[in-house]
Subunit: 417 residues, 2 copies
């Protein structure tokens, strides 16, 4: 989609404004940021009819464009979902302000006292698809961490995002913070996305939220650092020492609670010693729940193909395989996983220790459902995304991980010999 | 410089070996890594004559190539400097092992216990110029943090680096760790550098060590994340409430202790109220010490040109300027600084607080010499470099900042509602 605007000029201006706002925000008080978020939450609730009308335009556009039911569902806003947005803003507002926090502090023999304190990252770019609530979540988390943000929502949620964005700006104004702290790219032109990915002088990090197509594009093309996960190919390994009741319940929850989220289990690994007993029971449970089990070494719905391992189904489907021991499970995860979330189900502490030590995914779980892979469930209030890279942020990314740090060093006329 | 080797194939092989070694190293015990470093230190001392002979070849090559005296000095190894390398290896060995450290730990209402623990980053690439000791420092820090490292030393230090590298490998063997944990690119062909910068699938981070030419090239060309600083344009601001004795001593130390290091002061900012008294005294001190002061608003050696501000002299030269107040000093630093290290000299706590809050450099100091900007002086044992970016690492980069983290989550059959 193209329009008449000079995109590079537009983005350069947005970038310059974001940088100026970031410099101011960096030393804005915690109270003022809190006030802005509360005022934004109030504005979203007060202006809910306006937001729902804007959303109706997007829904109409979506219908004409022939969006899938799943996409239409992600796009849709009603009073309940707007209440969710309001709650999200309030939750982030009440979180601890990370800026200025002392991370570490120590004295040196030279007489220097060194303190490492959190600072904002600077400017965050968020590129997302149809969910309009990302506008509020991402805007709120960036603001909390003292960062300016440039939001580039999907063309499907254009009007809804604009209406929510207006409420965030209202919050900023109410708290006397720079309006440019939360900017929205006011065009559907895709050239704006390409431009953002190259803005190394302005944007400190890009967070893409959406399907594999979008995330892959951003990861390939961005010159700016990226916090993202391409896929969530989450594994659950049922050890020979698993508790049968816990294991059956956890696997069912990990696969079926919601199949469309990145923390949904996509592959079941079962220890050979319990494959015919507990393992088969779990597979039967899954089939009974309506899951298509693509199995190898187990009686499933169908026989697994090689390509089923390492596939993110995001559906009522799961790959399943018998492994000889925990090391084969770990090796399988290393080969086919996406470094997102993996779980071991066992009562054997040694097996847990080995799995925790050797599986290098962002989140490694014991006797818990992979569906807990979520910033809210980690106590972060919200998340701007989940990262599977190893640089800077990893796992659910909340306000704290949207910060950097600096060293404050105090001497008393201290000279280096 | 070119040779006959197929560089992409060579680097792909080195990369694959590094990845395999990293997977093993990630769960190597602290004891074993310690043993490898101690054995490497012993080997460097035992084989010092061999290293000095290798260095003689490099010195001969350097003379033929017409290296400057400063470069020749950086290249030269003698028994004293080898003792320094040995001490460095031992210091890193005795540092706390960061891998597995719990960074944070908390419980959630769901019943989950969440722990954030340090993990190695993976594979580090180090690209450096003439100093052969970087081979030992970088190799040791990477190993300490459980990372595999690919070392690409300058062609000037080719033989010296090879000899030191052999000692590191001896240490790895003695501790029964994979030899490929510390690899050296065995060619002077510059194509190897270009190749490293693109190895996103293998190398997790690149650390360039050297002049502005090398660092700029790496920052421009790398697709792999980079920890670096392009320049150290460090400022010292003498506030109106500075203690005269401390201020005079600190400025002199900050400029003249060593002029060729990145923490050397390059610009003096003086508050208008004390410009003619303490300010002029400091300028006179500097001139008396042989420093060329390029001054504006003060009587210096010469009048400052616009281009003197924001210049990294790395020499007995300094720019100096009178500012109206602390805010002008902060604005000057924001415009001309390189986010490396800045100091305020004052006895006024409010001025310190303002400077600490508003100057966003990696290191911000009060009443201390900027020459303290160094990993050793920060208690890190050594440093692989100093970073001025805001992603992941910042300031002196020691073993701890060469790590990532993961979340370990413990439940008891815990399901997400």
């Amino acid at each position: 989609m193209k329009d008449q605007t000079d995109i590079p000029a537009l983005m350069a201006e947005i970038g310059a404004r974001a940088k100026a706002a970031a410099a101011e925000l960096a030393h804005a008080s915690a109270e003022r940021k809190h006030a802005a978020l509360i005022a934004a939450a109030d504005a979203v609730w007060t202006r809910r009819d306006e937001i729902i009308s804007a959303n109706a335009k997007d829904m109409e556009f979506g219908r004409q464009k022939g969006l899938t039911d799943a996409m239409m569902d992600r796009l849709r806003l009603d009073e309940g979902r707007i209440q969710g947005i309001v709650d999200g803003l309030r939750t982030v507002a009440e979180q601890k302000d990370p800026v200025g926090d002392t991370i570490a502090e120590w004295d040196m023999p030279s007489g220097l006292r060194i303190r490492r304190v959190r600072t904002p990252l600077g400017v965050v770019g968020v590129i997302y698809e149809s969910r309009p609530n990302v506008t509020a979540d991402a805007g709120a988390l960036c603001l909390k961490a003292g960062n300016a943000v440039i939001l580039r929502g999907g063309s499907e949620s254009f009007h809804s995002s604009a209406a929510i964005h207006a409420c965030l700006v209202e919050g900023l104004k109410a708290a006397n913070l720079p309006e440019d702290a939360v900017q929205r790219v006011p065009t559907r032109d895709r050239a704006a996305v390409s431009e953002m990915l190259q803005m190394t002088g302005t944007i400190d990090v890009i967070v893409p939220r959406g399907g594999k197509g979008l995330v892959g594009l951003v990861q390939r093309e961005a010159r700016v650092p990226v916090f993202a996960h391409l896929e969530g190919i989450c594994h659950v390994y049922v050890d020979k020492s698993a508790d049968p009741d816990k294991a059956r319940a956890v696997v069912l929850n990990a696969k079926t609670r919601r199949t469309g989220i990145c923390g949904s289990a996509e592959c079941l690994l079962v220890h050979r010693d319990i494959a015919e007993t507990l393992g088969q029971q779990i597979v039967d449970d899954l089939i009974a729940a309506g899951v298509e089990v693509r199995a190898r070494g187990l009686k499933g719905s169908v026989e697994a193909a090689d390509s089923d391992f390492g596939t993110e189904f995001l559906d009522m489907k799961i790959a399943a395989k018998v492994v000889d021991d925990i090391d084969e499970a770990i090796a399988h995860i290393r080969e086919f996983g996406s470094s997102h979330t993996e779980a071991i189900l066992t009562e054997d502490a040694e097996a847990v220790a080995r799995f925790f030590e050797r599986v290098d995914s962002a989140i490694v779980m014991h006797n818990a459902s992979t569906q807990f892979a979520d910033g809210g469930e980690f106590g972060m209030g919200a998340e701007i995304g989940i990262a599977t890279g190893k640089m800077h942020a990893r796992g659910p990314v909340g306000a704290e991980q949207l910060t950097s740090f600096k060293y404050l060093v105090v001497g008393d006329g201290t000279l280096r010999p």
